[in-house]
Symmetry: C2
Subunit: 314 residues, 2 copies
């Protein structure tokens, strides 16, 4: 078992209330929940709200979609296991005879350990929604002038961090946008979205603010990576207070410099190495923040919030 | 490596054309693709088309959504490994020290076998979109009179069957509807949806027909299971011809009798054991059938097809 993070008292209370109200449906595994219809309706409405904001800002990102698994080889190429070995999920499967299959099923039927019958497949769970975007763009060759903006949508991301905190899921939707272009273009885009996203979330009544942040790098070497990332202000997060003892990050804005473009060989129209940035809205956390702020009865939310989410379509 | 199914010549040609047109984006692993914007737009339009058909038929299914992972324990309880050991995917993760993490990352960096550093988590990939529905409904206690209809949406399902056939994906969207009620109610519902779904697909210009079918049970014992399922007409599929050498199943209609309701103890209002049925539309396969039938340029599809998918909203 990976280290299970106990819920704080306020986290446990919120989870209980969410289950009671039908917003979350326990699966039996911490951090893995079904979602009720109101929860899902808010989530989809928020997604469309972000899409409208991009259009209003004059952006017409290209829609690409990717499944929640990606090649094991890509996880290896990205060095993901150097930085986040504790969060990765890899997919194992059966390859064997009928006799071995019977042996596996028998152990499984007794809820024993059938892992010896499972072998690594070519797949891992997708840990970040933007990861498949970079090789997909690289396949096309040199970028067009001005680069590209990709909308990989609100796909699933997996992080192996079982927790009793309803805001810390193992499988969740991250709505991303990705910019791949000249370095200055990418930095300006990242900063303008940080400010736009903050306004979008504050408009929905959330007491949100942004701060410099770092990724959850593993171990002692990871602490240095985190400090360097903060020094260079490569990552910002938008924070809200949902439960004690800490604020919850509900969106992040990440400047990768040439980390991905160097690996996949993405060049700008004038032959330079492209830079990349992405932003991610944590869907489930944002719905949680809205439920905590405006109450568990979505129909009784303030008119202006409902109006921004549902009435301003078109 | 699990047995890789080579593409037939027509399958390989279709895959190449789909990639060339930007509809599918290769990941490097067979059966795992990104999707272009037109492909995704058709997929979402088809999903809404099914939702409107349900409403038009007087159904108001309850929306519940589940992630693409479920508890390992549920796979064990369902006996999934007895019937489909070859299709299951289980999630492994790292639990170890900083030294072990470094060793794993080093092997991974050389594209070696780092599986010894991965341990079974509590999760498996969801093999069928309806599986999480049954325990979720069971938690609520006795069914209301008339039972329930659940819409678990077009969630992801995983099947470990790498193939060069673009219609055989490892991770794909299955749009399901689930009926849980008295036996006769459930059977009537299943048959009415089989007929309704066929009409919906024929209206879109597909040369579709239905036939009795069976699940891909494993091994010799599986052949008897399959024969019994066919004898009892528990499963129907809707078939279209996409590529040689076989027709492709694009939808299925499944009567489970008390398989799930017995396991989870779901009772009808009058105290009997409920029966269950589900239907599933294979999203990616249906988009593929439409692209094969009407051409790879979605903008040039027949007006009546585009109109059914996009203009009949509301």
């Amino acid at each position: 078992m990976a280290a299970y993070r106990e819920a704080s008292e306020s986290q446990a209370q919120l989870l209980e209330a969410l289950v009671e109200a039908g917003h979350l449906i326990p699966s039996g595994v911490p951090g893995v929940y079904g979602r009720g219809s109101d929860y899902e309706a808010v989530r989809l409405a928020f997604d469309a709200y972000v899409t409208r904001a991009a259009l209003a800002a004059g952006e017409t990102p290209e829609v690409l979609r990717f499944p929640p698994v990606l090649p094991r080889r890509q996880i290896e190429d990205l060095g993901y296991l150097e930085n986040f070995p504790h969060l990765a999920g890899s997919v194992f499967a059966f390859e064997g005879s009928e006799g071995q299959a019977r042996a596996m099923a028998e152990v499984a039927g007794q809820h024993g350990d059938w892992s010896e019958h499972q072998h690594p497949s070519d797949l891992c769970l997708t840990p970040a929604v933007c990861y498949p975007v970079y090789p997909a763009v690289a396949r096309r060759g040199t970028l067009p002038a001005g680069g590209v903006t990709i909308d990989p949508g609100a796909s699933y991301a997996f992080r192996h961090e079982p927790s009793g905190d309803p805001a810390r899921l193992q499988m969740f939707h991250m709505r991303e946008l990705v910019r791949i272009a000249e370095p200055e273009t990418v930095q300006t885009w990242r900063d303008s979205w940080r400010d736009r996203a903050l306004a979008l979330l504050v408009d929905l009544g959330l007491d949100a603010r942004f701060d410099v942040a770092n990724d959850p790098f593993f171990g002692r070497a990871g602490r240095m990576m985190a400090a360097s990332q903060r020094d260079q202000a490569l990552k910002f997060e938008i924070l809200v207070d949902i439960t004690d003892p800490e604020p919850t990050a509900i969106a992040s804005f990440n400047y990768h410099q040439d980390h991905f473009s160097g690996l996949y060989g993405i060049e700008t129209a004038d032959g330079g190495t492209a830079h990349t940035a992405c932003l991610g809205f944590g869907h489930e956390r944002i719905v949680l923040a809205l439920l905590k702020t405006h109450g568990l009865d979505v129909a009784a939310w303030p008119g202006e919030v409902r109006s921004l989410l549902w009435d301003s379509v078109g």
